[in-house]
Symmetry: C2
Subunit: 241 residues, 2 copies
Amino acid sequence: MSLPKIETCFSPSLLHLYDIRQSIVVIIDVFRATSTIAAALHNGAREIIPIDSVDKCIELGHAIPHSITAGERDGKVAPGLQYGNSPLEYAPDFIAGKTLLLTTTNGTRLLHMCSEANEIITGSFLNLGAVCSYLRSQNKNVLLACASWKDRYNLEDSLFAGAVYDAIGGQFEMNCDSTRAAARLYRLAKDDLYGFIQDSSHFLRLAKFGLQYDMEYCCKVDGHNILVTYENGRLLGKPVS
Amino acid sequence: MSLPKIETCFSPSLLHLYDIRQSIVVIIDVFRATSTIAAALHNGAREIIPIDSVDKCIELGHAIPHSITAGERDGKVAPGLQYGNSPLEYAPDFIAGKTLLLTTTNGTRLLHMCSEANEIITGSFLNLGAVCSYLRSQNKNVLLACASWKDRYNLEDSLFAGAVYDAIGGQFEMNCDSTRAAARLYRLAKDDLYGFIQDSSHFLRLAKFGLQYDMEYCCKVDGHNILVTYENGRLLGKPVS
């Protein structure tokens, strides 16, 4: 029996090279959309609706009861929204039972680009274990899709792809240099993920806004270990089986 | 005084993200176009004309005296052409004084995509030293442009980008995760470049055609240490100053 295939896409601009209709696509936006998503759902959010524009986010915020509008543009809270894109903003006593309406620069855009995927889940170091157990159980092709930064390759998303491959690669067929590079880089980084990531564009950009602790938090493996699936326009949290 | 900038583009599909008009673009197609180009020019070819189609290559072959048509599609000699895309085919007694008309899957295509660049040179391990001395002397922005494989990231081209950064990065401003990743990978690989590269898609593809020795040859640092510039549609060799 042939094994399912695992591949890594480094940028939304390369997505056309992969057959997502036959794959589980793992959306990866470590700094910070998919980390925030894992944290909010793990802390009890009812659901998260990823939205592509700030205006639509505000509009839905008026229409949906018990909802919170949140998101960023270029790393900062977008004007008109109530909250930002930090996993630290969504503590259980604040987010439990609520609907989070989230719009971000890279992550939500990639999510919408992948609408034809066989299945979509989201991944971050905060829920690495859940992502790996789920993929291991499904026996389907996998595309690790990095949200990147405005279509430019970024280090933190590829490190997460490498972490997934490092954990479960043996159960897949792999002939993809992006995955090979990601795995090599992850093995260099894994003993001090936060230290390694400090030499990256995104870290330097967000550090200017004083967000170092946010990024350190995003490097906590399994800190919010919940499976996140995307179904009918909604991100839902499911306990790890 | 601010330093010039150095960046790496992992795929022709990402080229639109970079401002090539202000940069020296280094076209990188290690397996094998830019290695073949360095070998042929170092061995005395008069010039190389990169051509995007096999038909046009054949047509020009009839029109230009002392010319040789050469190239590959999908790693094999393209039907109708006289020679392939191997640096080993162009020994001095065969190529000296001749015009090589070359068409390849990835490298020549990227070269044509970069026509608006401030300046174009080509790079491979065979002429790494010449590329580095030239870039060091110019004090201009640099884009290390990987030809990749049909737009997919490949390991060997990014390793070359990493080798350039490893050698001369200190003279540039760098805030580009592709360059950081390439440099990290190169430092992992440099003690046994050929060994490292054997775990890559392109190696596995070409090894099926028995081209291992070709690829080992392409890993010989400074084996054909000549500067290659692209001017008015022609690739020309210039001795390293």
